[in-house]
Amino acid sequence: MLAEALVAQNIAFGIIAAVMIVGAFRVVTSDNVVHAALWLVCVLAGAAAQYLLVYAEFVAITQILVYVGAVMVLFLFGVMLTRARIGSESNLNNKNWALGIPVALALFAAMAIALVGGFKDEYLPGPSKAIRIDTQSISDAIFKPYLLPFWALSFVLLVAVIGAIVLARKD
């Protein structure tokens, strides 16, 4: 069992996970909006690196492309357009920040239970019989059995886009 364990991958997982936790912590404690956004980039890129460790290259690169390359860039763009000051700002914290902690813990517990319950005894195969999740199998999965959830998700995005237009236009 131990021989089949992916030692290098596990060590890398630990290091990246530590970086991600520190980054996530700094997102909420940083006293500059742009710095907080950059720490968030760190966390998202770390997630991409974790995907790489489990042989999911396509998911990893999509994570970079969508979250780091598009979402965070727009985020930073919005911040710069409105209130990007250099140096620390004192009024970044909401008064109700303490309420966030139990909510975050509850979300974490829900996700942990779902993940542990869902993948109880499944392990990644060892390096000797490494699986390859190629792009084709992902598209086959999305556009065949998971087509309906995929459509539902795209409708959520469509609603967000239309909502943004309604908010932004003046007439």
Partner: protein
Amino acid sequence: MLAIDVLLDKIDLTAVLIVLFKVVVVFIIGLVATMFMVWFERKIISGMQNRIGPNKAGPFGILQTLADGIKLFFKEDLLPDRADRFVFRLAPFLAFVPAFLVWSIIPLGGDFTNGKGGAIKIFGRYTLVQLADPPIGVLLLLALSGIAVYGIMLAGWSSGSKYPLLGSVRASAQMVSYEAALGLSIAAVLLVAGTLSTNGIVAVQTSLSKWHVVATGVVPFVIFLIAATAELNRPPFDLVEAEQELVGGFNTEYSSLRFALFFLAEFMNTVTMSAVIVTLFFGGPQPLKFEQGSLHFNGNLHLGVLNGTVWFIAKLFVFLYIYVWFRATLPRLRYDQLMNLGWKVLIPASLGWFMLLAAQRVATDNNWNKWAVSIISIAILGVCGLLLMAATRASAKNREREGAMF
């Protein structure tokens, strides 16, 4: 995992050394090509403007870039008092490193005849003439161009000065807008090629009619060329550093080595983007073959392993020249024209063309009448285009009534 190369079937000392050799060669080629590009651009533009251009350092002034580089290296490195120190130092690297990394996935040569798949034999081993051939190749390119935005954006913000911030806000808006059109025109190529790997994309373009510029019907190529120019912030889309308005754009506060990194990144991006165009649309290192009656030419220049590389460089030069030509002749767009072109012309056009190609693909798969499918889809796309035009016209009229600027 990330690099699939015949060389790596058996990993031993030779393989490691060949990979190291390739890393060094690609690094040096990248730097030299960039230095050359700076000189090339100055020389060609001065020719077009009836000037002499650099002519003092070395033959034809070819060492001018080196002299400029050394000068920049020894200048004082200024750090503005109101700058955000860490981000100010980080930004040039965020611009420079992605520009360099794109080189690693471009096939710089190779032998694609007789199903060799681009592998050549050096030091007794078969290997690809590219640093890495990840199965997600082209997506890596898009991801890197997404990361490059950070360099410009953060440089402007961290300078703690008004004009750089304006420049970087313009830059990020422009680059994000044109990335969509860029991605959609690449999608057309991927649809025809059926693979994401850059080596695979080159391998399917075996003859002139299969070069993607022809196989995808020119439109994606034109859209890609325009969107890539905007992505590079080169004229006519250089509003990012519009000198008259913004002093020098996002890099106003930079000096010395950090400025040199931005400068290098900008020119290296020009070279890599030309290389990407050659790879995606013009067959990369594939030779130009033609058979016209008695006149035929199989593209073999009798150069052995360098055959593909020579073809690649020849094609690369055409696009380098085109970029310089753009810069010397086209006037800069106004900001609203830039945004209109990106959102109202390029994105719908690339999306429509992608749908057309997809319809044709479905028709071939199902043995439908190709012409009927094409005509029906063109008609539908035409109706959609007219609707879009009507919509933008109505919205423009509304805005005019309100007295909005654009």
